[in-house]
C-alpha cells in the first residue's frame, strides 16, 4: 500500500502515546477531556480506544496518536501488545484510591519493563481526580517520591475540572521532543527487529495481584 499523499505534511512529528492504569482511575475521561474539552462519566473501556489530537508544542506541529487501554483485568493480556513503539506512556492513578497507586508499581510498572520496546520511552505518572480533595488518600509527596524513584514525570490533575489536563500531555510531549532517539522515531521509520525479543508470558505479571 503506497499511500501516495505527496501533499505537504500536516505535522512535523507523530508520537504514539499510551495510557495505562487500573480500571476506573479516569484514563478515558482524561483523554476525552484533553481531546474534546468535555467531561463525561464513561463506562469501562472495552479493549482499547484510540484518539488523535493535533497540537503545536515548541513551534512544532505534532500529531498525537493516543491509545487508551482498558484497565480491567480481563483485558490485561491485550494491553501488552500496545506498548510496542510508544514514545510516551501515561500511568494514571486515582488519588482517592490507594490501591490504584500501589498497583502502578506492583503491576503496571512491571508490564512496562516487560513490554515496552523503547528504552528511552518517556513515562509520566498522573494522579487524577484532585477535584475530590476531601477524599484524597494518596498525597502529592508520595506521588513525587514514586516518580523520582521510577524516573518519570509527575503531575496531578482533574479530568473533571480540567486542571492540569493540557499540561499533562504538554510536559510529556516536550520531554519527548528533547529526546533525540524518540524524535527520530517520530519522524522516520521505526527500527527493525525490535519485536523479536518478545517477552515471556504475561501470566507471571498478572498472577501477582490476586
Amino acid at each position: 500500500m503506497e499511500s501516495s499523499s505527496g501533499a505537504v505534511p500536516e505535522f512535523d512529528y507523530l508520537f504514539k502515546l499510551l495510557m495505562i492504569g487500573d480500571s476506573g482511575v479516569g484514563k478515558s475521561t482524561l483523554l476525552l477531556s484533553f481531546t474534546s474539552d468535555t467531561f463525561e462519566d464513561l463506562s469501562p473501556t472495552i479493549g482499547v480506544d484510540f484518539k488523535v489530537k493535533h497540537v503545536t508544542v515548541g513551534g512544532k506541529k505534532l500529531k498525537l496518536a493516543i491509545w487508551d487501554t482498558a484497565g480491567q483485568e480481563r483485558f490485561r493480556t491485550l494491553t501488552s501488545s500496545y506498548y510496542r513503539g510508544a514514545q510516551g506512556i501515561i500511568m494514571v492513578y486515582d488519588v482517592t484510591r490507594r490501591e490504584t497507586f500501589t498497583n502502578l508499581s506492583d503491576i503496571w510498572g512491571k508490564e512496562i519493563d516487560l513490554y515496552s520496546t523503547n528504552q528511552d520511552c518517556i513515562k509520566m505518572l498522573v494522579g487524577n481526580k484532585v477535584d475530590k480533595e476531601s477524599e484524597r488518600v494518596v498525597s502529592k509527596k508520595e506521588g513525587i517520591d514514586f516518580a523520582r524513584e521510577y524516573g518519570c514525570l509527575f503531575i496531578e490533575c482533574s479530568a473533571k475540572t480540567r486542571v492540569n489536563v493540557e499540561q499533562c500531555f504538554e510536559e510529556l510531549v516536550l520531554k519527548i521532543l528533547e529526546t533525540p532517539s524518540l524524535l527520530a522515531e517520530g519522524s522516520a521509520g521505526v527500527k527493525k527487529n525490535i519485536f523479536r525479543q518478545k517477552p515471556p508470558e504475561s501470566d507471571a505479571s498478572t498472577s501477582g495481584c490476586c
Binding site: 500500500m1 499511500s3 499523499s5 505527496g6 505534511p9 505535522f11 512535523d12 512529528y13 507523530l14 473501556t45 472495552i46 479493549g47 482499547v48 480506544d49 484510540f50 488523535v52 500529531k63 496518536a65 491509545w67 487508551d68 480481563r74 483485558f75 493480556t77 491485550l78 501488552s80 501488545s81 510496542r84 513503539g85 522515531e185 517520530g186 519522524s187 522516520a188 521509520g189 521505526v190 527493525k192 519485536f195 518478545k198 504475561s202
Partner: protein
C-alpha cells in the same frame, strides 16, 4: 454462544485478518520474490510513522478496514461489540503490523473461559459435531477422486490422439521423462522453500503462535468462525451513503479474511466451507418455515421485528415470496438440497432434526443474521446459466454459462467460473474442468465457440503443415521463441505461414475482450448471487478473465466481487495493461501461470511480444501476482486443455498463501 469479550476478540482478529489480507494483495505471504510478510509489516510501520503519509485509519479510505469500505462495522454490529470500541479496533488493525496483536487477541479469546456457561459449551459442541458431519459429507472420497482422475486421463488421451502431431518436438517426450527425476528433486526444493518461508512468516506473525492457538479449543475456534461468517452474511449495515460498498452479501474480502483467520487458527478450509453450507442451508430452512407461518396468518412478532430491523434483504421484501429471495434456487431444488443434507446430519447429531437447521442457527444465536444469507444467493444458478446476454449485446455471438460439478443448489457460498480459450470442439469448454476437486459451485463459460474453434484449428493445421513439421524436427521452434524474445530476425518461412492465422487470431482477441466485458457485467449485476467468485481461464479464456478484471477495476464499488484468479497461458501484454489495477479487484490469490517454451502463443501474439512482453510465457512483475512457471507441465499451448486441472491441483487454491505444489506432479 460467545461472551462479549470473546466476541470483541473475534471481531478484533477478523479486522486484523482483513487488513493483513489487504497487505498480502501486494506482498503475498511467504513469497520470496517480493517483500515477505516481515517486510510488509515493517513497511506499514514506516508508513505509519513517516510524517509525510497519512497514518490514522480515518485518512486512508482505500483501506478495507476503513469505515468507508463498509466492511467491518456491520460485522462489529452483528457481534454486538460496543460501538465505542470500534474506532480502537479499526485503528489497531490498520495502524500497526498485525503480527503484534494476533497473539494477544488469541489469548484473550482463549482466556475468557471462566464465565462460559454449560449451555454455551454444549452449543459449541453441537456446532462442532454438525460441522464435522457436514465436512464429512463434503469431502471427496478416494474412489470418487480416482474416477475423476480416470476421466481426466481419458480426456488427455483423446486430446493427444486428436493432435497426433501436437505442438511439441518429438523428442521432447523423451527428454521430458528423463529429466523428470532431476526436475522433481529440484522442484521439491523450491516448494519446500515456499513452504518454509510460509511457516516462518506465520510464526513471525507473532512470537509464538502455536502456544496461543493451542490454548484455544477446537470447538471455540469453530464457534468463532461460525459467528464471524454469520456476521459477514447478515445484512446489518444500514444504508450508509458514505460507504463505497453498495452490495450486500458475501464479500470476497470477507472470504479472504476468513481464509487467513482459519489459517491462523490452524483449521482446515473444508471446515470453513462446511460452516458456510450450514449457515446458508439453515438460513433457507428458516426462511421457508417463517414464510409458511406468515402465510398461515399469525403475524409472528419476531418475523415482524426482523422485517422492521431491515434485516431481510430488499429482495425478500419486494418479492414477498421465498422464490424471490432464493432466486434461481427453485423450490424443488431447495427441498432436494435439504433432503440430501438431512440424513447425514440428522442421524449424527440430535439437534438436527425437524427444524434442525434452525436449531443450529438458534444455538449460535444468529438466526436473524442468517436469514439475510438467503438473499445473498440472489439469482444464482438460473442467474448465471440463464444469462444468454449475447444477443442483446450484439457484438458477441455466444456467451453462455453451463453448470458443472455436483455442487449446485447445495448452499455453497463459493462460485467458480472457468473459461476455456483454446478449443477444437464444444466439449473442450467443459471437459478440461470436469474433474476438478473443490467445493465451489462451478460453472464454465462457453463463448464464441465458432471463432475459437476456427483459430485453434488454424493454428493446429499450421502446426501439422509440412514446413512447420520440418522446422520442429530440426528443433527450430525452440529458437523461434528465444529469437522473438531477443528481437532477432524471423525466419521468413515462418512469417508467410503465420499470415493465415493472424486474421482469425485478431478476431478471437477482439471477441475475448468483448466477452470479458460481458463477464464483468454479469458479475456486477450479481447474477452469481452475491457470492465470491473464483475466475480461472486458459489461453484466450485467460484474456476474457483479465479483460473482465480490467472493467471491474474501473469502478471502486467492484472490489468485493472476485476472490481468486488464475490465468494460464494468457495472451496478454505485460506492459501498458495496468496489471496493478486488476490486482486491486482480486481480494485473494492472483496467479499467472506461464510456460517459457510456449512458442505457439509467442508466434500468435508476436505483434506485441517484442515491445510489451507476454504474460503467458513470462512472469509478470507486479507486486502481489503469483507467477508460476509451468514449463515442465506444459508441452505446448494445447496442453492447457488437459493439464489445467493438474496445475490447479498443484496450486491448491484453497490455501491462503501462495503454493505450487510439485509433489502432485504425475508423469
Amino acid at each position: 454462544m460467545l461472551t462479549p469479550t470473546q466476541r470483541y476478540a473475534a471481531g478484533a482478529l477478523f479486522s486484523l485478518a482483513l487488513h493483513q489480507a489487504q497487505e498480502h494483495q501486494t506482498s503475498p505471504l511467504g513469497f520470496p520474490s517480493h517483500q515477505d510478510e516481515d517486510g510488509g509489516g515493517e513497511s506499514s510501520e514506516e508508513r505509519v510513522s513517516s510524517s509525510s503519509s497519512s497514518d490514522a485509519v480515518s485518512d486512508d479510505t482505500q483501506l478495507w478496514v476503513h469505515q468507508s469500505s463498509g466492511l467491518l462495522r456491520p460485522v462489529f454490529k452483528f457481534l454486538e461489540i460496543d460501538s465505542r470500541a470500534w474506532g480502537g479496533l479499526e485503528e489497531t488493525a490498520a495502524y500497526s503490523p498485525s503480527k503484534h496483536h494476533v497473539g494477544a487477541f488469541l489469548r484473550l479469546l482463549a482466556e475468557e473461559t471462566s464465565d462460559v456457561s454449560e449451555g454455551a459449551a454444549e452449543m459449541e459442541l453441537a456446532l462442532m459435531n454438525s460441522i464435522e458431519a457436514m465436512s464429512l459429507s463434503m469431502e471427496n472420497t478416494p474412489a470418487d477422486y480416482e474416477s475423476k482422475k480416470e476421466k481426466q486421463r481419458e480426456y488427455e488421451q483423446a486430446c493427444r490422439e486428436k493432435f497426433s502431431t501436437p505442438d511439441k518436438m518429438p523428442e521432447s517426450e523423451l527428454k521430458h521423462n528423463s529429466m523428470h527425476n532431476n526436475n522433481r528433486q529440484e522442484i521439491n526444493v523450491i516448494t519446500s522453500i515456499v513452504e518454509e518461508s510460509h511457516a516462518q512468516s506465520i510464526s513471525e506473525s507473532d512470537g509464538k503462535p502455536l502456544d496461543e492457538v493451542k490454548m484455544l479449543s477446537y470447538q471455540r475456534k469453530l464457534a468463532v468462525l461460525y459467528e464471524l461468517l454469520s456476521a459477514c452474511l447478515a445484512n446489518m449495515s444500514e444504508d450508509d451513503k458514505k460507504s463505497t460498498r453498495q452490495r450486500k452479501g458475501y464479500d470476497a474480502r470477507y472470504r479472504v479474511a476468513l481464509r487467513l483467520l482459519s489459517t491462523w487458527f490452524d483449521v482446515k478450509w473444508i471446515k470453513m466451507e462446511s460452516i458456510e453450507t450450514i449457515v446458508a442451508s439453515s438460513a433457507m430452512a428458516i426462511l421457508k418455515e417463517e414464510e409458511s407461518k406468515e402465510v398461515a396468518q399469525s403475524k409472528k412478532s419476531s418475523w415482524a421485528k426482523w422485517k422492521r430491523g431491515g434485516i431481510i434483504g430488499a429482495a425478500a421484501l419486494t418479492g414477498g415470496t421465498l422464490m424471490a429471495v432464493t432466486g434461481g434456487l427453485a423450490a424443488p431444488a431447495i427441498a432436494a438440497g435439504f433432503s440430501a443434507l438431512a440424513p447425514t446430519l440428522g442421524t449424527i447429531i440430535p439437534v438436527i432434526g425437524a427444524g434442525g437447521f434452525a436449531a443450529v442457527a438458534t444455538a449460535a444465536g444468529s438466526v436473524a443474521g442468517s436469514v439475510a444469507v438467503a438473499a445473498s444467493f440472489g439469482a444464482a444458478g438460473a442467474g448465471l446459466t440463464g444469462s444468454k446476454m449475447a444477443r442483446r449485446i450484439g457484438d458477441v455471438d455466444e456467451f453462455e454459462f453451463k453448470a458443472i460439478g455436483e455442487n449446485h443448489n447445495q448452499g455453497r457460498l463459493g462460485v467458480e467460473i472457468s473459461v476455456s480459450g483454446f478449443v477444437f470442439e464444444e466439449e473442450d469448454f467443459i471437459r478440461p474442468w470436469e474433474g476438478q476437486q473443490n467445493n465451489s459451485e462451478r460453472y464454465v463459460l462457453q463463448w464464441e465457440s465458432k471463432h475459437l474453434i476456427a483459430v485453434s484449428t488454424a493454428i493446429q493445421d499450421w502446426l501439422t503443415s509440412r514446413l512447420a513439421m520440418e522446422m520442429m524436427k530440426q528443433g527450430a521452434m525452440m529458437t523461434v521463441l528465444s529469437s522473438l524474445l531477443m528481437a532477432l530476425a524471423w525466419p521468413a518461412t515462418l512469417l508467410v505461414l503465420t499470415d493465415f492465422i493472424d486474421s482469425k487470431w485478431t478476431i478471437a482477441l477482439n471477441r475475448s475482450d468483448k466477452a470479458g466485458k460481458l463477464l464483468a457485467e454479469v458479475l456486477q449485476k450479481g447474477l452469481q448471487g452475491q457470492r465470491p467468485v473464483t475466475l480461472v481461464g486458459f489461453s484466450l479464456g485467460a484474456r476474457v478473465v483479465f479483460r473482465c478484471l480490467q472493467i471491474l477495476a474501473e469502478s471502486e464499488t467492484n472490489v468485493g466481487l472476485v476472490e481468486r484468479v488464475v490465468l494460464l497461458g494468457a495472451p496478454i501484454s505485460i506492459k501498458d495493461m495496468n496489471w496493478e489495477a486488476t490486482r486491486k479487484v482480486v481480494a485473494g490469490r492472483y496467479v499467472n501461470a506461464y510456460s517459457t517454451n510456449d512458442w505457439m502463443l509467442g508466434i500468435a501474439f508476436r505483434a506485441n511480444l517484442l515491445t510489451q512482453g507476454l504474460a503467458g510465457i513470462q512472469p509478470v512483475n507486479v507486486p502481489g501476482i503469483e507467477n508460476v512457471d509451468v514449463t515442465e507441465v506444459i508441452e505446448g499451448h494445447s496442453s492447457y486443455l488437459w493439464k489445467t486441472q493438474q496445475i490447479l491441483e498443484q496450486l491448491e487454491l484453497d490455501t491462503y498463501y501462495p503454493v505450487f505444489n510439485q509433489s502432485v506432479l504425475k508423469s
